[in-house]
Symmetry: C2
């Protein structure tokens, strides 16, 4: 057994976590064992357990990586200056940024179905984020800047469904920059596809 990064536990823990997220996404959480993780990292199971108490701890850390970012995003939006419309548009843009920057962790989060206490806790945190997003849609509709003919909860689901669907096809390092992707998403969602529907043409 080799421990090439011994003495750099922080780095090791991050590497273990990112490899675990990758395996969870490819083979499922249930389909991934600590032995698989050790094999992928080229170390023994004992070396893994030196860094993390177990598989469920890795899942919790992975889900927290995505949820902490989304939580920070909606918290910042709640107290930011500007109209509800400006803050909502900034949150949609920020959600694209979070997804691009943390795509493996967000992908894992979106697949969580509540099969364990860790997953149930992640779902609870995700619902809290969703509720605060719906509040922002409601505030924008109340100020008259977002169409009021659609239910705010439904709008929130559609908008963040659009953002979340990026994990299905977006590949890091592709031709599309994160900024161009965020522009495209916010343009379609807020200004619409119809030529002349929005202010940008």
């Amino acid at each position: 057994m080799t421990q090439p990064r011994r003495g750099r536990p922080g780095h090791d823990q991050a590497a273990v976590l990112q490899t675990a997220i990758d395996l969870f996404n490819r083979h499922g959480y249930e389909g991934t064992s600590m032995g698989d993780l050790a094999a992928a990292l080229g170390v023994t199971k004992a070396a893994i357990y030196h860094h993390v108490p177990g598989k469920e701890h890795l899942l919790a850390q992975a889900l927290d990586e995505a949820l902490d970012e989304l939580d920070a995003l909606v918290t910042a939006a709640a107290s930011a200056p500007g109209t509800a419309y400006e803050r909502l548009r900034a949150v949609v843009r920020g959600a694209v940024d979070v997804l691009v920057a943390h795509q493996p962790a967000v992908t894992l989060l979106l697949r969580v179905r509540g099969n364990s206490p860790v997953e149930l806790d992640a779902l609870r945190r995700r619902r809290e984020v969703d509720a605060r997003l719906a509040d922002l849609v409601r505030a924008a509709a109340a100020e008259g800047s977002v169409r009021a003919d659609l239910d705010p909860e439904l709008v929130s689901r559609l908008v963040f469904g659009t953002v979340n669907s990026l994990v299905e096809w977006h590949r890091p390092g592709g031709e599309l920059t994160p900024d161009a992707l965020a522009d495209a998403v916010t343009t379609v969602v807020f200004d619409g596809l119809h030529a002349g529907a929005g202010p940008e043409l």
Copy 2:
């Protein structure tokens, strides 16, 4: 062993298929055995094999259920009267209808990753549908009815990403009728969330 629906093979085959799709969605294709399927239907494995040659055949049938509908939708749109914009808007609406009417099969299709020849064939058919959707977006941009400042392939991915994201939360028989859902999706995608045209607030 009982065979309550003996003599109604068509009905039996449909029931077997829908139960298989449900199990594949809940436990994964790999995580579902023909024994699980027999147990869920309350019959013996031999009775299942009386109706279908095997698990992969069920997967192929399930994916065809969704793909045949989507294929018919884009084929009809290609030869329908009206502008490209009208046909594109009808396709988006139709895609919501297909998703609602065949939600389990569409959910299964969206999870296919190409792990077998059957899955690879489904991915090939899905890419064909996507390409024809992008053609329609391109035609609508060329006629000037859809904004031309966004790449048609990207627009197609975002629009159908929005439609596909419905499988994550839409529950059949809920408060929202299929028509209201299709209205909401087409309104957000084509007209945008921003209240009215004109300068941004």
